[in-house]
């Protein structure tokens, strides 16, 4: 009788702990590192996280996925102006809806882009829209009306070069807003919107206004 009780009790405890730990581990893990609030945010978009220039990420489960680095959880202060700098290292994929090639919601209504022209020469200038087919990604916070297309690196640009996009936007009061990309850059998934497009830490992220 005693052995049987021990087996039953032990078995029940093991199953309960296993299931709770299973769910807890799965549901609560989140990408890091999480930084404190910042008004100047510097992001890097790379075609594959493994090939990142500035923030290589070891032990990534999907090193061949496109992603924003170093994190997709951005903490910003409320009611202030956020200056974004995005190092865009990916080539163009093209927008699913060309409409998103218009810059919307930035403080100036435009963005500042350092890029390479068809001859591979560096160029610089303010833009209010880009050629939809030349978009590599977009940085969009739909709830704040911020939609910024990111110009893809020209095929004739020198190796390991990147386009640098800078723009500013205002934050509202406290809240959590999602940000995403409108370019179907989840390669090899139907409509290009799977994989990294729907996985936290790659092309999906949150803007936490504190």
């Amino acid at each position: 009788m005693g052995a049987r009780l021990a087996w039953v009790t032990g078995g029940v405890i093991v199953i309960v702990i296993a299931i709770v730990a299973f769910f807890g581990y799965f549901a609560l893990q989140r990408p890091g590192p999480l930084k404190g609030p910042a008004t100047d945010i510097h992001l890097e978009v790379v075609a594959a996280v493994g090939s990142a220039l500035e923030w290589p990420r070891p032990n990534d489960p999907h090193p061949d996925w496109v992603g924003y680095l170093p994190t997709t959880v951005l903490r910003v202060p409320a009611n202030s102006t956020i200056n974004m700098t995005i190092d865009q290292e990916d080539s163009a994929t093209g927008l699913r809806n060309p409409f998103w090639a218009r810059v919307q919601g930035t403080t100036t209504g435009s963005m500042h882009v350092k890029y390479f022209d068809d001859k591979g020469n560096p160029q610089e200038g303010d833009m209010t829209s880009i050629d939809p087919t030349q978009a590599a990604h977009t940085f969009a916070i739909p709830d704040l009306g911020v939609f910024v297309p990111l110009l893809g690196v020209n095929a004739n640009a020198p190796a390991n070069s990147m386009n640098v996009i800078t723009f500013s936007f205002h934050t509202p009061g406290k809240g959590v807003y999602h940000w995403q990309c409108f370019v179907p850059c989840g390669a090899k998934t139907v409509f290009g919107n799977g994989g990294p497009m729907q996985t936290y830490g790659y092309m999906a992220g949150q803007l936490i206004v504190e």
Binding site: R4, I19, F23, A27
Partner: protein
């Protein structure tokens, strides 16, 4: 039959010892063989082919390792076989941990498996409610939240497909119809042994990040999803197979193996419920399997069955899925109807009031369930001319469902109600189901469905019917039949506390969700309007209490089953029906001799009522299998 042939088998049997350890070993080997093969021939480098083949090979290898091939192999090789095998005869605790052909062992195996899976799904629900404490997806990240929705929903669908037919159908149907066995014990065992692999495969989805589609698996989202979706495809196919095998077995058993005198009009109403649900499962599951195979082909072979951009149509999936899916929800509820109508007369101490109309109600629901599936597509853009028909057919289902209430209320009228725990759960079922049923009418009406479709209203509706209906009936069945199945009586005082706790917590959890749905909260969202924070926190805290009541339930079961030394008497409820006339524990072959049924199960208070059966059997009949 004789011991000499048994000795022959032990000499010539396969040298590999079959059982769960071998099964697991085979499953691992099979999985990796499938992954290797799939990656070798897969069209894409995304491993979907490998994962699907891995799951299929692993399941097949598990079943072989468990010993499903021993009998056919022995027949092919000409070795002598014992028709029902030593597995049938073996006693002791070990028989629960190997392939058994005894329907009573399978019933217990089902019960324990289902309760474990129920805990799994319940923890998933608690994670979902924890995430919804905040109107923004900050507690649980949104990707994992959507995956949790999928895990919880599909796991619960797996359970509720079998939660009553599995444990109670398998254990009780032969006892209730006076049979010594099931018609197809191997199919019955297969229907059980497909469930644990399906659950493991489903849980394995988390290693790929889960799947984002919920239980409906609408393409193209399900084609876009990661390899976690393959768990959905294969797991659901296995459950569909389990539904078919179990349905074939149950129907054949009920039709062919009834004892002499067990006429159709004397059949316990619970068996009628199992009969209808088995017929539905057997006919509906192949449609799902076909749809899932097409989905698997879309994902691996680049076919465009569901891709409008390449000539397919996502409506194809919606129609096939709901053609299965709507009968499926009646697969859940029909055996629950059976349980409620079965238990109420025994505690009302009255004959079942309107037995025939009850059976007609079960069949009416089963029949009409085939003509309603497009009510899930009212706003999807179907041809408008179809809407009135599906609105009418859906609303008509409430007529046969009303028969169940008529029978239950008629039986309670002027009864001598013995307010036991199973009876309380039956009354709780009726209360919850009337809310679930009425809210179903709201959803069947096209004008109101436009607003309520896809909102928390529909989510609350089906939780009222499945959780408040089927799971309450399941609890009633546990309190009622566990004394027969385990020989241990559950604590009635704890049972009453459990009932009131669960009943109040359940209603406090799900009734506010109707309001959330009417107030613009769509289903399956990880972020919702901040104005609904109070409502959602209320629901979450109620859900924790509901989970607590389930813990009490589990503790009551575990304590009574394993820790309580007192054995229950054979017939603690003084019930008339056949299964309670048997000794506890039920003998290996149920009945010494095939019994002769003399009277109906519910003839309480009848003057000169005969005992329900003569267990001495027909003179001269030995009742061989």
């Amino acid at each position: 039959m004789s011991m000499t042939s048994g000795d022959l088998i032990t000499e010539r049997r396969l040298t590999i010892p079959t059982g769960i350890p071998t099964g697991i070993l085979f499953a691992i080997v099979g999985y990796f063989a499938g992954v290797w093969l799939g990656n070798l021939f897969g069209l894409f480098d995304d491993q979907n082919t490998g994962v699907i083949l891995g799951y299929l090979f692993g399941t097949a290898a598990f079943l072989i390792g468990l010993g499903f091939l021993n009998y056919p192999l022995a027949r092919v090789l000409g070795w002598p076989v014992d028709a029902l095998g030593e597995a049938y005869e073996s006693r002791g605790l070990g028989r629960y941990f190997r392939l058994s052909l005894d329907h009573k062992v399978i019933g217990i195996q089902y019960l324990v498996t289902i309760l474990t899976m129920l805990f799994f799904g319940g923890v998933g629900a608690m994670m979902i409610r924890t995430a919804l404490l905040s109107p923004d997806p900050t507690i649980v990240p949104p990707g994992q939240y959507v995956a949790l929705i999928g895990l919880h929903s599909v796991m619960m669908i797996f359970i509720t497909s079998a939660v009553i037919v599995g444990p109670f159908g398998n254990y009780l149907v032969p006892l209730m119809i006076g049979s010594r066995r099931m018609a197809f014990p191997r199919l019955e065992a297969l229907s059980f042994w497909l469930v644990p692999p399906a659950a493991v495969i489903l849980a394995a989805a988390t290693f790929w990040g889960g799947f984002p589609t919920g239980w409906t698996g609408y393409p193209p989202l399900s084609e876009q999803a990661s390899q976690g979706m393959d768990s959905y495809v294969v797991g659901f196919i296995l459950i569909g197979l389990a539904l078919v095998t179990s349905g074939v077995n149950m129907l054949a058993t009920i039709i062919t193996l009834r004892a002499p005198g067990m006429t159709w009009s004397r059949l316990p109403i619970f068996v009628w419920g199992i009969f209808c649900t088995s017929a539905l499962g057997m006919l509906a599951a192949p449609v799902l399997a076909a749809a899932l195979i097409m989905l698997g082909m879309d994902r691996t072979l680049n076919t465009p069955f569901y891709l409008a951009s390449n000539g397919g149509s996502n409506y194809l999936w919606q129609n096939l899925f709901w053609f299965f899916g709507h009968p499926e929800v009646y697969i859940f509820i029909l055996p629950a109807f059976g349980i409620v109508m079965e238990i109420i007369p025994h505690f009302a101490r009255k004959p079942l009031w309107g037995y025939r109309i009850g059976v007609v109600g079960l069949f009416g629901v089963a029949l009409l369930s085939w003509f309603v599936w497009q009510h899930h597509l009212f706003v999807s853009g179907i041809a408008p001319v179809l809407r009135p028909f599906y609105m009418l057919s859906t609303e008509l289902i409430s007529v046969p469902t009303g028969f169940i209430f008529l029978v239950a209320l008629g039986t309670l009228w002027r009864a001598r109600v013995w307010m036991t725990v199973p009876m309380l759960f039956c009354l709780g079922f009726l209360f919850n189901f009337v809310i679930g049923g009425i809210s179903g009418v709201y959803l069947s009406d096209v004008p109101t469905d436009v607003t309520l479709h896809g909102s928390y209203f529909s989510m609350a509706h089906f939780h009222y019917t499945i959780m408040g209906g089927e799971i309450f009936a399941f609890a009633a069945a546990i309190y009622y039949w566990l004394p027969k199945m385990t020989g241990k009586m559950l604590n009635q005082t704890v049972g009453k506390i459990h009932f009131w706790w669960m009943f109040i917590a359940f209603n406090s959890t799900f009734f506010p969700l109707f309001i959330a749905g009417i107030l613009d909260m769509p289903r399956r969202v990880s972020a919702y309007d901040p104005s609904l924070v109070f409502l959602n926190r209320w629901v979450s805290i109620s859900a924790y209490f509901l989970f607590g009541s389930m813990i009490l339930f589990a503790a009551n079961i575990i304590y009574a089953w394993f820790f309580q030394p007192v054995r229950a008497v054979s017939n603690p409820w003084a019930a008339r029906s056949l299964e309670w006339q048997l000794p506890t524990p039920v003998p290996a072959h149920n009945f010494e001799r095939v019994p002769v049924i003399l009277a109906g199960s519910y003839d309480y208070g009848m003057p000169n009522a005969k005992p329900v059966a003569d267990l001495r059997g027909l003179v001269g009949a030995t009742g061989g299998s």
